[in-house]
Chain length 298, copies 4
C-alpha cells in the first residue's frame, strides 16, 4: 500500500526501507534528511490518496506533538495517523481525541528491534480502534519478522505505547541483570574467561536471549569493555515505567534499580555520598576524602 513516513532517522529510515522491500510505496519526509521524497508535510499529504495513512517516526516530545498537530490540519475524514515514536502513553488520548474530532484516526504504536529491525523485522505493539488497526495491517505485517509473530493489538488508544514502555522497563531490568553478573565475574578473580562464559550461555541455558547475543558480540570486539566509560543514558521509558508502577502501587524494585544505576553512572560525584561521608566523620571521626583528593581506592 501507499503511505507517508515522517522521520527518516535510524528507526524511520530503516522501516521505510523494509516497507519498500516488501512492496509498499513509501513517500518519505524528514526535516533534514536528504533521503526525503517531499519537501513539506503538505507535499507529503498531497502525494497520498484518501484514505491516507501517515506514519510518524520522529523524536518523542515536542517534535512528535508538532507533527501530529500539523497533520491534524492537513488530513481529513477517514485518514489515519500512526504514531510510532517513544511517546509517553498519557499523551496519546488527547491527540486521538483532537484528531477524532476531524474524523482522522490515530493509532499509537510501540516499535522495538533497534537498528536490527530492518533485517530481522520489528516488534509492533498497537493501541487504538480495531477498524483502524485493520486499515494499517498490511504495514504491520511487513514490518514484523518474516517468520511470524511480533504483533499485538494490546488495547485502546495509549495501550501500544504503554506496553512498549513496559517492554523497555523490562529491558532495563534484563540489561542491569547481565551488567551485575558481568561486574561480579570480573571482580571475583575466579573467572578466567568472562567473554567466553557469556558466549557459552547463548545456547542451552536459561538466560539465553537476544540481549545476551548482543553482549557476547560486544565482548568479542572489546573483551573487557575497556574502551567504554561506565556511563549510561536513559531515554524516558524507564522513568515512565517507574512512575506508572508508583501510580498503580506496583512494587518494581528491579526495574527501578536499573534506572537508578544509570542515574548514578552519570554523576561525577554523589551528593548523597557526601552526606554519608560527612556523617561518618561527625560521629566516628572517620577520615573523609576531600574534593581535591584522588579517590583513595582508585
Amino acid at each position: 500500500m501507499r503511505l507517508g513516513m515522517i522521520g527518516l532517522g535510524k528507526m524511520g529510515g530503516n522501516m521505510a526501507a523494509r516497507l519498500r522491500e516488501k512492496g509498499h510505496e513509501v513517500v518519505g519526509y524528514d526535516v533534514t534528511s536528504d533521503q526525503r521524497d517531499v519537501d513539506s508535510l503538505a507535499d507529503l499529504v498531497a502525494r497520498l490518496e484518501a484514505p491516507r495513512v501517515v506514519w510518524v517516526m520522529v523524536p518523542a516530545g515536542d517534535p512528535t506533538a508538532r507533527t501530529v498537530a500539523e497533520l491534524g490540519e492537513l488530513l481529513g475524514e477517514g485518514d489515519l495517523v500512526v504514531e510510532g515514536g517513544n511517546t509517553h502513553y498519557v499523551d496519546d488520548r488527547t491527540r486521538a481525541e483532537t484528531l477524532a474530532a476531524k474524523g482522522i484516526g490515530y493509532l499509537d504504536v510501540g516499535v522495538s528491534g533497534g537498528v536490527w529491525g530492518r533485517q530481522n523485522g520489528y516488534g509492533i505493539m498497537v493501541g487504538g480502534d480495531a477498524g483502524q488497526v485493520e486499515q494499517a495491517r498490511p504495514l504491520f505485517e511487513s514490518l514484523t519478522p518474516d517468520e511470524g509473530g511480533g504483533f499485538v493489538h494490546s488495547g485502546a488508544v495509549g495501550a501500544g505505547h504503554f506496553v512498549k514502555m513496559v517492554h523497555n522497563g523490562i529491558e532495563y531490568g534484563m540489561m542491569q541483570s547481565f551488567a551485575e553478573g558481568f561486574e561480579l565475574m570480573a571482580a571475583s578473580g575466579i573467572v578466567d574467561d568472562v567473554p567466553g562464559t557469556f558466549e557459552s550461555w547463548r545456547e542451552g541455558t536459561v538466560v539465553r536471549s537476544w540481549l545476551l547475543d548482543l553482549l557476547s558480540r560486544a565482548l568479542e570486539e572489546d573483551p573487557e569493555l575497556a574502551e567504554l566509560r561506565g556511563y549510561a543514558q536513559d531515554s524516558g521509558e524507564g522513568r515512565w515505567t517507574v512512575q506508572a508502577a508508583v501510580d498503580h502501587a506496583v512494587p518494581a524494585p528491579a526495574i527501578t534499580a536499573a534506572l537508578f544505576a544509570r542515574f548514578a553512572s552519570r554523576q561525577d560525584d554523589s551528593p548523597a555520598m557526601k552526606v554519608v561521608s560527612a556523617l561518618r566523620n561527625q560521629f566516628g571521626g572517620h577520615a573523609v576524602t576531600r574534593s581535591d583528593e584522588d579517590n583513595p581506592s582508585a
Copy 2:
C-alpha cells in the same frame, strides 16, 4: 565413552538419557530410583575401567559431600569426578584438594537448561584443570546443544560453579523484570491482552529470550496465572550471588531485589511492615490493621 552417573533425578536422569542417545555407555546409580543399573557406589566403580569418569548429579549440600567423599575412597589415580550439582563454589577447592591427594581429578560443572536440556542440550560451565577437561570433553560435547555452543571452561576449580551461580543470579533478575512488567500491565487497566503482548514480544523485540518463550507458554495455559499462588522459592544460587557481590563490593541491586521479592512472597505477614504500621499509628494516629482483621484492600 563409558561413565558412571550418580543421581538419576530430573537432571541426572535426563542427562544420562541424552548421553546414551549420543552413544555413551552410562552406568547409572541413584539411592532410590528403579532406573539404576547398580546397587551401590562400589558396584558402579567396579563396572568402570580405569581411568574412570564418574559424574555426580545429586542434591547440593550433604548428599553431594557424602557422595564425593565416598568416591574418594573408591576411586584411584587417574580417575575423574565430575561434580555437576548446584554446589556452592566455596566448597569445591577443598574437595578437589582432598581428591588430588589420591591422584583423583575433580571438575566442578555448572549445568543449565532444566527439564528441556535432554531435548535442547545443556549449557555446561566447567572449572578445573585443562587436562581433566579434555578427559571429559566427549561428555560435554554430547550434553551441549547439537548446533554447537553451550560450553565454557571458565577457570580453575570452583569457576564452573561460580559462573553457574552468577548465571542463576542473572536469571533471578531477568525473571523479576518480566514479573514486574506483568504485574504493571495487569494492574494498569490499560492493556486488554497481556498474554498476547508477551507472545508478540517473542519475535523482533529487544526482550526476546527463552524465559519469555516459557512465560508465554505459561500464559497460554493460564492467561492470568489465576491457578498459582504468588509464592516463589529460592534455591541457594541467588543467595550466594548476593553474598559474593557483598564480599567483592559489587553493587547488585536488581539481583538482590529479585531475591528479596521471593523472600517476601513466602511471608504470610511482614514483621517489618508491622513496625511501619505501629510507627504510623504512634506519630500520626493512623489506623492500624489488627491481626484478626482482613486485609482492608483485599
Copy 3:
C-alpha cells in the same frame, strides 16, 4: 493575632488548640466537626478583619482545592491563605497565581509532628513570599516548639510542601530501616530481648531518634507487635518523593524500597511472584503452589 482555621481534625484541631493556648484568637470551621465556631466559610471570613489570615488544614487533593478556590472568592487584597495540608508541591504555583491575581497572598506550609505536635510543638516549613511569611510569623512562632527551632522558610511558593514531601520520604526510609532491623533480630533466634534492645538504643547510640522512641513505646505495649497486621498504607508524599527523584535523575533506592515494601504489604498475593513461580515450573519442573493451597512455609 486573630486567624481563621479551616479543618479541625487531628492536625487542625490540635493546632487550633495550641494557638489558642498561646493567646491567638482562632475562628474555627470544619465541614463536620461540632467544634466549629462558624457554619460556613463566608461566616468565617466575616468574623475576621482585613488583612485576614486563614489557615487551611483539610485533606489534600479535592477538599483543599475546593477550599482554596472558595477562599479566592471570599477574600480580598492583602488577605493571606496559609495552606498547611499535605499538598503536592506541583499544585501550589497555580493556586498562588490565581490568588495573586486578586491580591491575595498564599503560603504553602508543611507541618510535621503528628498528634504530638500540640504538646511538643510542630515542625513548620514554609514556601512563599518573604513579606507574607512575616505576616504569619506570630502563628509559626507559636506552633513551633517552645525551646526554639522547628521553622524554615525554605524558598518560593511550593518550597514548603516540597521539603515536607522530602521530610516524609526520609521518614519512610528511616521507618523501613528500623523495620528491617526489627525483622532481622526477630528472625535470627539470637536476640532474647528485642524490645529491650530498641529501648536501650534510645540513649547513647547513633540511631537515637524520635522514631526510635515511638517504636520503643509501641513495643512496650505489644512486645512482638502480635496484634498488628503487617499492612502499611502510604499517603502520597512517599510516592511524590520517588517521582521527584525520577524527574531530577536522583538515585533514591532506600526511600523507594520503603515505598515498594508498603505496596507489597497490601497485596494478598503477588502477581509478580506468580510469574516467577510459573517460570520456575516451566524450566525446572519446580513445584508450584496452587491458589487453593496454603502457603507451604506458613
Copy 4:
C-alpha cells in the same frame, strides 16, 4: 573497680578516660600508644587481681583474635574477657568456648556512640552469661549515659555483637535516607535553604534524631558539602547485616541499598554500566562514551 583496657584508640582511649572519671582504676595497654600504662599483656594481667576483668577494644579481625587468644594463655579461672570491638558475631561462640574450657568468662559487647561517647555516654549491648554480665555491670553503668538507659543484655554469647551489627545496619539505612533527601533537595532547584531546612527539622518533626543533629552540624561548617568527595567507606557491619538478612530470608532492601550506594561511590567507573552502555550501542546504535572522553553530563 579495677580493669584492664586493651586498645587505647579513638574508642578505647575515650572509654578508659570516661571510666576513670567515674572512679574506676584502668590499667591501659596498646601496641603503639604512649598513653599505655604497661608494656605487654603479661604486665597488664600481672597488674590486676583475680578475678580479673579485661576489656578488649582493638580493631576487629586478626588483632582482636590474637589478643583474645593471648589472654586465653594469661588469664585463669574466674577471670573475664569483655570483647567490645566490631567483631562479626559468628566468631564469638568459638572464642567463648575456647576460654570457657579454661574457666575464663567471655562477654561480647557492642559499643555505639562514636567519638561523642566519652561526653554523652555510650550505648552498650551485651551478649553472654548473666552471671558474667553482673561481674562487669559497674563498667556498663559508668559507660552508659548519666541520664540512664543505653544498656541491654540482649542474649547469649554473640547477641551483643549481633544487635550492634543490626544497629549499624539501621544506621546505614538512616544515613542513606537523609543522604537521598539532601541530594533531592539540592537537585530540585526549588529549595533555597537546604542547611536551614535540615536545621529546622531538629525540633518538632518526625525525623528528629541524633544523625540529623550531626548532619546539621556538618552543613553549618560546609553548607554544600563542597569540600567533600562523595566517597563512603563501609566497615563490615553493613555487609554482615545484609548477609545475615540473606541467611534468614529477611528482605532488607533499604539497608542493602545503603550498602550498595557506598560500594558504587568508591568506583571510578562502573563495570556494570559499561555493559549497559555497550548493549544500548549494540541494539540501538546509541552513542557510547569512550574511556578517554569526559563525562558528557559533567
